[in-house]
Symmetry: C2
Subunit: 108 residues, 2 copies
């Protein structure tokens, strides 16, 4: 086995899980945090920033891009990345929904 049985779960559960998995690597957390700080959305210096090989960084960027979390726009020979704000808000709402369930209910 080793394959996640996505069909057993709701679409929302799969979506949340996939987004969480994308955030589930420190390099990708670092990329996101760096993009938040640097309004300037650079690329390339991620390799400097992270200390990972160029190919590895490129791979992490692709994963974030595939989920729509970041966007890349070509600028000459460089690619400028930034956070997709609308999408980020969407994701925040999904997680907020998950977090907010717990509260006044008495248990344990």
């Amino acid at each position: 086995m080793g394959i996640t049985k996505s069909n057993l779960f709701t679409e929302e559960q799969n979506i949340i899980a996939n987004l969480a998995k994308a955030i589930g690597h420190p390099a990708r957390v670092a990329i996101i945090q760096h993009l938040i700080k640097a309004n300037a959305c650079i690329n390339g210096d991620f390799v400097q920033e992270l200390g990972l090989a160029q190919a590895t960084v490129s791979q992490h960027l692709r994963e974030l891009k595939d989920l729509g979390i970041i966007q890349g726009s070509i600028e000459g020979s460089r690619v400028s990345y930034c956070i997709n704000k609308a999408r980020w808000k969407e994701i925040q709402d999904l997680f907020t929904g998950l977090f907010d369930g717990v509260d006044t209910k008495g248990c344990c």
Copy 2:
């Protein structure tokens, strides 16, 4: 390779990533959501609920327990699980911190 280079990142980045990874499986999202709904914190029927083998469910529960997200208390031959609310709040704050960075800054 295949081993995450945790030493390259800040402790916060590693912590967030590990928590996100825990949420990064639909079965574990389902477990959390079910625990939120059922104030009653049952166990066992997770196997029914999820449609996964008993051993698999037990493994997912352990991962959540290892990160402190859920707690299990022995009740006779059963184990009653529930969300660790204090911890959950902590985790929520961590994620909120990550999410809230993005906003008014102009970029892209």
